[in-house]
């Protein structure tokens, strides 16, 4: 896992939840393109943060996560997407559900929320394999410690540290019911992660009585890193 901070001259600004397409071109003209969520909050400057998970058999991520050096240039297309986005004006309460690196676009939302005073009631349910696999762990701890309007709930599915009292199973309906907002609160819900997690969480949320139109999903499929 590596976070890249890119300076993009003339960047028009972005919304929390949007992504960019990164295109690499080899010397022989061969091109590969992948989408990465923007993890930084919208801001006035021309910097973007992308967090890239290295997939060993990928074509793009090993280069971005391993070989890219300060000063190198990249070809970007974006910002992209007007669907999986959240802005302060959309309000809350917010339920954010992440699996693994699915935290990235949700992190942009949490950072935007914080920059606007951190008052939108928000709960983040975040599934990771182990505590070491939790991305942005220190920042999430710090954000949650700032006030009572943000709760961060982890579930560690493979390995738990000694004394762990939190969840230690995959996200299911009972967990969503226990930590999420009741459907009568009409939360805005964003779910991002691997396809099977997104499918099962979205189905469970609808079965719990949440309005499908208020559930937005973004799947990370086998598109090959």
């Amino acid at each position: 896992m590596r976070t890249l901070v890119l300076a993009v001259p003339g960047w028009p600004g972005h919304l929390a939840g949007q992504h960019v397409d990164v295109r690499l071109t080899a010397d022989d003209g061969y091109q590969a393109e992948r989408s990465y969520s923007i993890a930084s909050a919208p801001s006035a400057n021309d910097r973007l943060a992308l967090t890239v998970e290295r997939l060993d058999d990928g074509e793009v991520s090993p280069y971005l996560a391993g070989e890219l050096r300060i000063g190198d240039t990249l070809e970007l297309r974006g910002p992209i997407g007007g669907y999986f986005v959240w802005d302060i004006a959309m309000g809350g309460p917010l339920l954010l559900v992440a699996g693994g690196s699915g935290i990235c676009p949700l992190m942009a939302m949490l950072r935007l929320r914080q920059s606007a005073g951190g008052t939108v009631p928000t709960r983040l349910l975040y599934s990771s394999r182990s505590l070491e696999d939790v991305i942005y762990r220190d920042e999430l701890d710090a954000l949650a410690a700032m006030g009572s309007s943000l709760e961060v709930i982890h579930t560690l599915t493979r390995e738990q540290p000694p004394g762990w009292e939190g969840f230690h199973r995959r996200i299911d309906a009972a967990m969503l019911s226990a930590v999420g907002w009741p459907p009568t609160d009409r939360p805005l819900i964003f779910v991002c992660g691997p396809t099977p997690l997104v499918e099962s969480v979205a189905d469970a949320l609808v079965n719990l009585g949440h309005e499908p139109a208020r559930i937005k999903t973004e799947r990370f499929g086998p598109t090959g890193g």
Binding site: E59, R77, I80, G82, Y83, F84, M90, E199, P222, T223
Partner: protein, 95 residues
């Protein structure tokens, strides 16, 4: 892995579609010609494999093909017979 697990959200085709349409259309609404379901393009099912020259957007309700986009040989070809209509905002990103 089941076929269902291969699909992404239409949102992931936003970059490709932005090359064709003037606006971002992931928040444009469309109606499925097969079942009549109405939804945002970003919420439909996208089948787009690495290195594939194209993308297929299927209806999240009935899996009917809504849109086929092929980018090859210096051209874009759009197949739209599965969409009854497509509605775009004058100002992208507004709600």
């Amino acid at each position: 892995m089941s076929e269902q697990q291969f699909h992404l959200d239409g949102n992931a085709a936003g970059g490709l579609l932005q090359e064709v349409f003037v606006h971002d259309i992931t928040d444009a609404r469309g109606a499925c010609a097969a079942c009549g379901a109405v939804g945002e393009m970003g919420a439909q099912h996208l089948y787009m494999f690495p290195l594939a020259p194209g993308a297929v957007l299927r209806c999240a309700a009935c899996e009917g093909v809504l849109m086929v986009v092929v980018h090859a040989g210096g051209r874009f070809r759009l197949g739209l017979r599965g969409l009854a209509w497509l509605e775009m905002k004058e100002t992208p990103g507004s709600s």
